[in-house]
Symmetry: C2
Subunit: 474 residues, 2 copies
Amino acid sequence: MVDLYRLFNPRGIAIVGASREPNKIGSVILRNLIEAGYEGKIYPINPNAQEIMGLKAYPSISAVEGTVDVAVISVPAPKVPDVIEDAGKAGVKFAVVIASGFKEVGNVALEEEVVKRAKKYGMRVVGPNVFGYVYTPSKINTTFGPNDIIPGNVAFISQSGALGVALMGTASVEGLGISAIISIGNKADLDDSDFIEYLGDDPNTNLILIYMEGISEGQRFMEVASKVSLKKPIIIIKSGRSEAGARAAASHTGSLAGNYSLYKSAFRQSGILLAETIEQAFDWAKALAWNPLPKGDNVVIITNGGGAGVQATDALADYGITLRRISDTLAANLKQILPPFASLGNPIDLTGLANAEWYYQSISLALDDPNVDSLVVIYCRTGMTDPKEIAGAIKDALKSSKNRKPITVAMIGGEAEYEAMRELTREHIPTYPTPERASASMGAIYRYYYAKKYVEERLKELDKKKLTALERIR
Amino acid sequence: MVDLYRLFNPRGIAIVGASREPNKIGSVILRNLIEAGYEGKIYPINPNAQEIMGLKAYPSISAVEGTVDVAVISVPAPKVPDVIEDAGKAGVKFAVVIASGFKEVGNVALEEEVVKRAKKYGMRVVGPNVFGYVYTPSKINTTFGPNDIIPGNVAFISQSGALGVALMGTASVEGLGISAIISIGNKADLDDSDFIEYLGDDPNTNLILIYMEGISEGQRFMEVASKVSLKKPIIIIKSGRSEAGARAAASHTGSLAGNYSLYKSAFRQSGILLAETIEQAFDWAKALAWNPLPKGDNVVIITNGGGAGVQATDALADYGITLRRISDTLAANLKQILPPFASLGNPIDLTGLANAEWYYQSISLALDDPNVDSLVVIYCRTGMTDPKEIAGAIKDALKSSKNRKPITVAMIGGEAEYEAMRELTREHIPTYPTPERASASMGAIYRYYYAKKYVEERLKELDKKKLTALERIR
């Protein structure tokens, strides 16, 4: 395993290419790092400045007196090798090369030169052609993306630059808390596997989300992903699913997207959850990052709308989950607190008259029933209840129960329901605006639940014989 | 065709069951109708009140001196037949029976009695067990749902009550403009086919969106839907796709959801677009309601992010759309205005440096190119551009071109991009927060484009021989 500890916990960071022009990429990065509240030392490197944003500037990294563990390099590509040389001499451990103009435009030799020089000094390279990285536990944001990141426990690795930066914003709007964001760009040195392996052991990360265009070392990737999948879920959006998409990816990155079905099978063998869309990946991530794993596959739906319950049932079925009848005990207990017209099947239909108390009681009873493994709770706007109160009831029921079980929620309706959804999201109760998305996200929990079991079994076999498929995705 | 003109353009509406208690359903309906700005006469009917919400109250409909075309009946089920009798005598044309407690709870006889009495007077019944209806051109809202409806040209028919009311709110949040909302409930008399047929000719409606649990008269439904599909798109969410979902639907409505694959094939033959999720249906509705139909299937993607372009390409492929190379002329024209590093394939990648002017120019050129039939435009947040300006450029390019072509847009990023998305949505430019949703919605346009062609051909045949499938979905 590559020891990335000092990348994520650096004692000092040098920003090479920071300047007084506020819109230069190096300056945006410096500002983001300052505003993120990084508590180590920050060194702007610029031979033409004495001071930038209130910090003393240095003509080179080797001119810095303190320890610099990371150099974020935002100078034109041809100048990068010299900066690497300087960083190496200064004992820098990681070079994050923001600059583009390398392999992605055909400049293979320049990219190789960068890695060669870094290697000489035992320095590792992130990139080139990246937008930087984030690690919220250390209050680091060396990206030129937004700075309103919600701290959390999801690590996001992006091969795409523009999309990656945009998705930093989407994560904030969607309430997805972040531990790390890593732009891996051309992957001249450090690649997906290195980061997955390290983050697999990172106590601040409990889910890894990846936007991937292609991988080169398939076997190592599968080995690493399999091991990490046993500890935490890995969700991948693999671009270039279709033939046309693969062609577009090739013209975009110069690298072949490869045969999607091979990726698919390799991912399945490694316990990776393959998302087809960004929305799906983010939805799944919330459900998996914020829930415990279930103990079994008995999912119960609680709803105040029959139609919404049917939609949720259908969407669960898409993930291979078939609802079972609730136990007689649970039915009897529910009967005590619900009116006679409530439907005690599965879905449990509280009917449109349901108030916050009914939600609280029925969720509590379901959490306490040993036969219930997970809950999908659905609220449809009615004229008579305040969605805030329903959200409060859901929150209280979860808090007051001794039993932690996976839950996803749908709040369907207008602005007030969307606000209640955001409120529950802030409390890390995964909530969605449609019943299908709540069910699909519960489905993802079970996809991981089974993937993990599968990988456990497969790894036992793997000791005996190497699977042939491992070679096929190279 | 059932003439529903006076339902949607009534001279007077009686609200039976309105009272001074503000939270009673009849009162909410009365308030909604007043606040919606309905310009005909409103008659609260309540034997125990002189005046309700500033309007003179009447003991019965027959006591009203003016013309009452519609009676909205919100009294307990057992009292409904007498109200129907009274309404019939008063010459009411349509009874909208809000009350539940009929067939859905086994009271078949009471429901039949209601229809029988109505028939005697030539009166038609909507419901029972409905939440009312909306028709924005006449400023009518007789529902007990929300009242912040955005006027527009999408008609929404819902068999589900709770979900239907909730989706009224969702439509507003999502910016989907509404012409009509009809809750059809138990469909004791008027059913989907009657409304589809009428709305097919309604000049204020250019798309019909249906949440359906099941239909009974399959043949008539297919005939009507086929004819209407030629004029405007019909999107249906059919609940009970899975076996478990069908069981849940059965316990919810008492009616069998039927075999999904039969519905699927009947819908395909009728030109209906079958949506699997609420989100999909709403996304498609915006794209179809706000766009002209394309002239051919050459879709061009314009993006500032390669990765987002690949995602969009993949999602188009899911709908059977394969991107073709752009014409040499368009490439040459783009070369004039774009920097050399922009990628002139399809997707056209303006790169992360793209500003509003590049968007304006490239969209304008694509609209003017006779080989381009439709556009998917994607913006990924960058640090250097204001998404508002990009949105403005998209709007301006569409306005200043003589050529109207279908377009969908993705604005990917943080709060500012979401706001730009809402701004474009207000302008009826269908905009989504992910590239996949923008592409899928373009895909729906093409699904309709081909469905329409197919139905045209099929209807020609239909004159010769009745298709056997028609009988199979009864």
